[in-house]
């Protein structure tokens, strides 16, 4: 017999009536989105972990405030996560970058993998260096692959705002990543070679 597939809204309703299993199921279904959003916004695992916990604690307390007409449960959760991340970033004003786990395994990686990882790291750094309101659209639209409309629901702004912010954010990312592109790198090397010549 096929198990019943509950929607997020169904699970939320069951959770409100005290169904522990519904809460657990909703958590397992949506926690990675929240965790990844927090991680990509903050660049720190511990922050992402705290925020994931806080978001679901808020859900426990304020699930009654969820309005299906205003967006999906996922958007509701990411909206809460966004508020917490921004508050946290404001409080700490620091960005923690690469995790220890990545550092330890790096030595074992092949050269190709290493350069790939470095490229990813530089992208991560570039994303983290963006101002928060640009960073969040990149995280939502590019990394979480959300549509403009969904991102607009999470951010509580117009779709046009999301589009224009994403446009600007991408331009900024290209500018920040430019020195690492092969052509510029070559130019940089040539410049330094000339200096030593």
């Amino acid at each position: 017999m096929k198990p019943i597939e509950y929607t997020d809204s169904d699970l939320l309703q069951l959770m409100l009536s005290g169904d522990r299993e519904a809460f657990a199921q909703l958590y397992r279904r949506r926690q990675s989105n929240v965790y990844r959003f927090a991680l990509q916004m903050s660049g720190a695992r511990e922050v992402a972990e705290d925020i994931t916990q806080e978001v679901f604690m808020v859900l426990m307390r304020e699930a009654g405030n969820y309005d299906q007409g205003r967006g999906s449960v996922n958007a509701f959760l990411l909206g809460i996560a966004r508020n917490h991340v921004l508050r946290r970033l404001k409080r700490e004003r620091r960005l923690l970058s690469i995790d220890e786990a990545t550092e330890t395994t790096r030595a074992e990686e092949q050269l190709e993998e290493l350069s790939r990882r470095e490229a990813i790291e530089s992208v991560q750094k570039a994303v983290l260096s963006l101002p928060e309101h640009y960073r969040e659209v990149v995280v939502l639209c590019e990394l979480q692959e959300m549509s403009y409309a969904e991102a607009a629901t999470v951010l509580g702004c117009a779709i046009g705002t999301v589009r224009s912010r994403l446009h600007r954010a991408r331009t900024m990312l290209i500018e920040r990543l430019r020195p690492t592109t092969s052509e510029d790198l070559l130019n940089e090397r040539l410049k330094s070679a000339r200096c030593f010549a």
Binding site: G18, R20, F23, A24, Y27, R28, Q31, S32, V34, Y35, R36, L39, Q40, A48, E49, T52, Q53, F56, M57, M60, R61, R116, A119, I120, V123, Q124, V127, V138, E142, L143, Q144, E145, R163, L166, H167, R170, L173, I174, L177, T181
Partner: protein
């Protein structure tokens, strides 16, 4: 398509978003003609790939299991709190409270009745000197709503009302001591004239009334056409509300310490 139009859709093209086929075709025709836009599109596409790579590295990431354990623990404890039955007051306590409430109501009725039957000399303003708080005010409620000639007359015999839910009685002249006290109070408090609150007749006030001291947001003054100091707009201001025997508010005056009221001096 020109470069500016291409710039509007470059993100959608680079991100391979669903878009109008004609628009897409025009965009590709434009990059065939414009090397600058073609280079820009290359850069955008490279960025898209880099971001996709980055997204892939985090795709499998999720919160550690201990988070789930903490949350489920919290959910259980919350459910326990929710499920805890509300304690009902025992029967004897309930009856005790009911009897106490009845006694209180009876007392209140008795006091109110005796207050109404007392002659005006007892119930009126003669005990003013025993209560020196700054809650007593000069200026009769009716005075501000009467013709100026009558007002002048009245100023010679100021009348005092007891503040805070005090019954309003007909005006009576005060003793010299009371006059002195009233004058000293005048130095500390300043009031506006009574301003009518409703369009109803003021005739009802002849049968008596009550003045109730209340506190209102300072901005309420603006509703009555009085100037408000916007720097102090978040503060509160005292006001005397004149209630008729019908229980309706007929007039209001604003009370403030000297310099605290935003009135033209």
């Amino acid at each position: 398509m020109n470069c500016q139009r291409f710039d509007d859709i470059i993100n959608d093209v680079a991100r391979e978003q669903i878009m109008d086929a004609t628009l897409r075709h025009e965009a590709f025709r434009h990059i065939g003609e414009c090397p600058t836009c073609a280079a820009r599109l290359n850069g955008e596409q490279a960025l898209t790939h880099q971001l996709q790579d980055f997204a892939l590295t985090t795709k499998s990431m999720s919160a550690p299991e201990r988070v789930e354990a903490h949350l489920l623990e919290a959910f259980d404890s919350q459910s326990l709190v929710r499920r805890q039955p509300v304690r009902r007051a025992s029967g004897s306590r309930y009856w005790l409270a009911a009897v106490a409430a009845l006694v209180l109501i009876a007392c209140a009725l008795f006091i109110a009745r005796s207050w109404q039957t007392r002659p005006p000399e007892e119930a009126g303003v003669t005990n003013l000197p025993e209560r020196p708080e700054a809650d007593r005010h000069e200026v009769s409620a009716a005075s501000s709503l009467r013709p100026p000639a009558e007002k002048e007359n009245q100023n010679q015999h100021p009348t005092v009302f007891r503040a805070r839910s005090t019954r309003y009685r007909k005006e009576r002249p005060l003793s010299p001591a009371s006059n002195a006290l009233a004058a000293s109070l005048l130095n500390t408090e300043i009031t506006t004239d009574f301003l009518p609150v409703t369009y109803g007749s003021m005739a009802n006030l002849d049968a008596g009334g009550q003045i109730v001291r209340v506190e209102l947001p300072r901005t309420t003054m603006a509703n009555f056409g009085l100037p408000v100091n916007m720097e102090r707009s978040d503060e509160r201001i005292k006001a005397d509300v004149l209630l008729g025997v019908d229980g309706l508010a007929h007039a209001i005056r604003f009370v403030g310490k000297r310099r605290s009221l935003d009135l033209p001096k």
